[in-house]
Amino acid sequence: MSQLSPTRSAPPAPAAVDAVAHARTRRPGRGIRGWVGGDGPHIIVFLLPLLFSFGLFSWWPIVRAVVMSFQKTNLVSAPEWVGLQNFVNVLQDPLLGTAVVNTLYFALLALLMGYPLPLIAAVLMSEVRRARGLYSALAYLPVIVPPVVGALLWKFFYDGSPTGVFNVILGWFGIPPQNWLSDQSLVMPSLVLFATWSAAGGTIIIYLAALVSVPPELYDAAEVDGASIWRKIWHITLPHLRGVLLITFILQIIGTAQVFLEPYLFTGGGPANSTTTILLLIYKYAFQNSLGGDYGAATALSIMLAIVLAVFSRLYFRLTRNWSTS
């Protein structure tokens, strides 16, 4: 056995504990003078470019958006303060309900189709002994394809005419051509399929990295005990991946709640608003009217979405805290 770590050695005497605690909190030269005389000013100087960049490109737009959510503005002429009117308008918009339902539907389909797939792929790939790097590269390849290029490619696949790639394949099995993007019942699953294809590689790499941390001795022991591959996965792999699974789950929820690219590139929210998501609705508020969009409504809805996601994330971590660390 390796040496026990200090935290696992015999408990120290109370005096020793005090000394350690004191040493942890007391630092030489603490206080303004110490700070000025020490590394303080240099740290600030080093931080300045970073603070400036973050301030200009991240924090200022957020502050600006919050302010704009209480204004009526076209970003060219002077803004007008309208209080909560933008929030009221957004909440009264009949399209908001459609967008929320569509977003939830996308999220549900993405959970069913997109969440398990990378896990299954990663677990299977981890079982492969040879050319694992090649499989990883192949799995990751779609991630490096720019989304617009990927969408163009898949538009060929989804061509609703009998000569469309997917329809030709269906034809081999005697199935009639489908209007992948123009059929209100097929369009959302089609978008989720593309989203899964384009994003699964990244998640697979995360799972593969997590799988490396599983001690091989556990698998060896399980094999000695005659465990099948499924029992090994269930009793060894999945418990070790639990923390990562929890994180990827919340990231997936946050990501799908903000789905924009797929409906924007493929359908523009159609047909008949069947793929209008919350983010696309925000985009439409801002940019659909060429006379200058309703930026107040767009930012009001953005802020409401951000608040909902923040509250959801907080609740999620609170509810899963014990589970993730047990």
Binding site: L48, N74, V76, P177, G268, G270, P271, Q288, N289, L291
Partner: protein, 454 residues
């Protein structure tokens, strides 16, 4: 331990980095030598010959105006990108907008007031009044300059007509014939016999066109209320529904916008579609249309009071442009867009250059100035016309006999967007309830009109 010299050295580098970042965010200052640089719009994705043509025009302009430097910026108006460009301040100094947006942008202070410079143009009082009003402020000042006008047309593919056993010189003259021809093309070739735009507000635009052609309107006479929920609109939607579901004549794409429908038409995948009568130039320069395929006819008109939806393009100047840039911009508009309509030398020179570069000369258009001036213009360019005029005769022979109807004036693009959804619903849901769709659209359109009136 680090020495003070080391610390200050590294801190200095960090400060320099910060300064460089700040400098990168600075704005350029205007040159003090009296020269003005303006950015002007050029269609995105032009073929090389078209770009060469444009550059040649810039060279001529700069020679005549040595104090003005012209920089080209790719720009094509679409409702969504225009809004982003406008809000982000990234529009070129000179840009174009559709007639529908002129008055709204002027009222919102989103265009430069160039009326004093426009008034100095020698032909300022000769604009067709119906056309000029699209770019006028409440006080009559001309803030945006009309540079092109069009009436909608029925574009058709002569090759697909022949493949379906139809005579390409005898395009359909009634909407029943359009339906009949569409089915024949679809059955014979497997391509869409008739297609229509449905996305990015174009669905509402083309639906309004058809409603006008069927004798209806989508706005009342004094532009105070929408008339979306009406028999004429329902009749057109039922017509499209029958084409789609009874005849299966509309292919498989029901999410076309202006760019994608042009692409598919030029690629020979569409038999007929409705768009601006002057679309030929775009089809050739941006979508490599084979001219032999092309045919253009007027829209059939039926019903009690039918008409042809007209529209056009205004040239405008960015509100961010300085006074000197505004004046230079009007000089450019005068040179690039208007002189090639009114000044014989420029007209001939422009047409000659375009023809020498295989660019289309003579695509159908409506007069920006009077009929007489238009006739004179056509006589000037006649020797250089290189578009297949015979194939456009079904349009050019009859277009001036059709009563022209202006686009709806209130919340135009917003109502078009509402109607996009209605058209998409009819084309993608066989059981779509047209009456309910129209009732809902009417309610929402009324709210938009009320908002616009505030």
């Amino acid at each position: 331990m680090k020495s003070n010299t080391q610390r200050f050295g590294v801190a200095g580098i960090a400060l320099l980095s910060a300064s460089a970042l700040l400098a990168g965010c600075g704005t350029s200052s205007e040159p003090a030598d009296g020269k003005v640089t303006i950015t002007v719009s050029i269609d995105a994705g032009l073929e090389q010959e078209a770009r060469d043509n444009f550059d040649a025009r810039v060279a001529v302009f700069e020679k005549a105006h040595p104090d003005i430097t012209v920089e080209a910026q790719e720009y094509t108006w679409t409702a969504t990108t225009f809004t982003a460009d406008l809000a982000g301040g990234t529009l070129p100094d000179v840009f174009t907008i559709p007639f529908t947006d002129g008055r709204g942008l002027i009222a919102g202070g989103q265009l430069a007031d160039i009326s004093q410079y426009v008034a100095e143009l020698p032909y300022a009082d000769q604009f067709n009044p119906n056309v000029a009003q699209a770019g006028q402020a409440e006080d009559g000042g001309q803030w945006a300059i009309p540079i092109a006008a069009y009436g909608q047309g029925l574009h058709y593919n002569r090759t697909l007509f022949e493949a379906a056993g139809l005579d390409p010189d005898a395009p359909p003259a009634t909407w029943d014939e359009v339906r009949e021809y569409a089915k024949k093309i679809s059955d014979a070739t497997g391509e869409a016999g008739y297609a229509t735009m449905t996305s990015s507000n174009t669905g509402g635009w083309i639906l309004t066109t058809l409603v006008n052609a069927f004798g209806g309107r989508t706005e009342n006479a004094d532009a105070t209320a929408p008339t979306v929920d009406s028999e004429a609109v329902a009749e057109v939607l039922q017509y499209l529904h029958d084409l789609r579901w009874d005849d299966d004549s509309m292919g498989a794409n029901f999410l076309y916008d202006w760019g994608t429908i042009n692409q598919d038409f030029a690629a020979g995948r569409i038999g007929m579609y409705v768009s601006g009568g002057g679309n030929y130039g775009n089809l050739v320069t941006q979508n490599a249309l084979n001219p032999d395929d092309y045919g253009l006819a007027v829209l059939p008109l039926q019903g009690d009071d039918p008409g042809l939806l007209g529209g056009g393009t205004l040239a405008a100047v960015s509100p961010k442009a300085s006074a000197a840039e505004q004046r230079a911009s009007v000089d450019w508009i005068d040179f690039y867009y208007l002189a090639k309509l009114v000044d014989e030398d420029t007209v001939v020179e422009t047409a000659k250059l375009a023809a020498s570069l295989d660019q289309p000369v003579g695509a159908p258009e409506l007069p920006v100035f009077g009929q007489e001036q238009f006739a004179q213009y056509q006589s000037w360019i006649a020797p250089y016309v290189n578009v297949p005029v015979d194939q456009m005769a079904p349009y050019t022979d009859a277009i001036f006999d059709q009563p022209l109807i202006a686009e709806p004036r209130v919340a135009t693009q917003d109502v078009y967007a509402l109607l996009d959804t209605v058209v998409q619903a009819v084309l993608t849901d066989q059981n779509a309830d047209i009456a309910k769709l129209l009732a809902d659209a009417q309610t929402q359109a009324e709210a938009l009109y009320a908002k616009a009136a505030q």
